[in-house]
């Protein structure tokens, strides 16, 4: 997907292990004209490839809004942060609004500590993300 893929060759290493699937679940659904991708578990070096792949798959579907629900994450490492930045760049290219749902320290702290919070449109819960129309 995006040219900005700082962890891509790590992905290959992680995928060659063929593991980590039990540490993360990614589920996509439609909510009206929005795509909602709900991610749960740990987004670390091992599981990031699955998240990246899921996001890429969902971005290829047409929608008016892309919501990433991160409220069920228990860890978000730098490889996961990189996927969020890539996703932002990719949605901007497509003129597709991106909204993040996060309300836990496991997600808000990494975003804040790396200065990424202000880049994103962040909502405390899924209803708020879907109810507000910009």
């Amino acid at each position: 997907m995006a040219e900005f893929a700082p962890s891509s060759h790590r992905d290959e290493a992680a995928q060659s292990q063929g593991a980590g699937d039990q540490l993360i679940t990614v589920a996509a659904r439609r909510a009206g004209s929005a795509t909602v991708l709900t991610v749960q578990g740990e987004v670390d070096m091992l599981t990031t490839p699955k998240l990246r792949e899921s996001v890429a798959g969902q971005l290829s579907e047409s929608a008016d809004l892309f919501v990433l629900d991160l409220s069920g994450l228990t860890f978000l490492g730098s490889s996961g942060l990189a996927v969020l930045v890539e996703t932002l760049e990719e949605t901007r290219k497509r003129d597709l609004p991106l909204r993040l749902v996060c309300n836990t320290r496991e997600v808000t702290r990494p975003l804040a500590a790396t200065g990424l919070t202000d880049l994103f449109d962040i909502y405390p819960d899924i209803d708020a993300a879907l109810a507000t129309v910009s």
Binding site: F4, P6, S7, H9, R10, A13, A14, Q17, A19, G20, L23, E42, D44, M45, L46, F75, L76, G77, S78, S79, L81, A82, V85, R105, E106, R109, P110, A113, T114, G115
Partner: protein, 150 residues
């Protein structure tokens, strides 16, 4: 967090608080290193934001080393907890010319979240391989601590 005195572990001499572990230099094995570091920091009364920062920094240090580690090698990690902070050293066998990628997004994150990061490399006798090490430090809130040997 709170104002009670630090747990007993924080008044032991540094050398008695060291944890050492060795894991396969593979993605599967890395989570244990960050989880142990985070657990130690939590028990030492680091605030939760600092624990989160440390956990991400440790994962990134391990990931950076993993990229250059020789196939089948081990990643060795030692963690020392002092009264003013925690230091985490990770090292692995690499090629003698191997260079860590310090221009990456992940490396910037590591340097942002840790209070100090240092890289060193020493070549094994005979020049068959090198040992590349990343040392990082996270201070307890309000502590401006630089280890004597850095």
């Amino acid at each position: 967090m709170n104002h009670r005195s630090a747990p007993d572990v924080a008044v032991l001499p540094v050398e008695r608080r060291a944890v050492e572990m060795s894991v396969l230099a593979e993605p599967m094995a890395l989570s244990v290193v960050r989880v142990v570091a985070a657990d130690l920091a939590t028990r030492a009364d680091f605030d939760l934001d600092s624990v989160s920062d440390l956990e991400i920094a440790v994962e990134e240090a391990c990931a950076a080393l993993l990229e250059v580690a020789l196939p089948g090698s081990m990643l060795t990690c030692s963690i020392a907890l002092g009264p003013r902070g925690i230091s985490v050293d990770v090292e692995a066998h690499t090629g003698t010319q191997e260079v860590l990628r310090t221009e990456s997004f992940g490396w910037r994150v590591l340097n942002t979240l840790a209070d100090g990061v240092a890289v060193s490399r020493r070549t094994a006798p005979g020049g068959t391989h090198a040992t590349t090490a990343i040392s990082l430090r996270k201070n307890l809130t309000g502590e401006d601590w630089v280890p004597a040997d850095s």
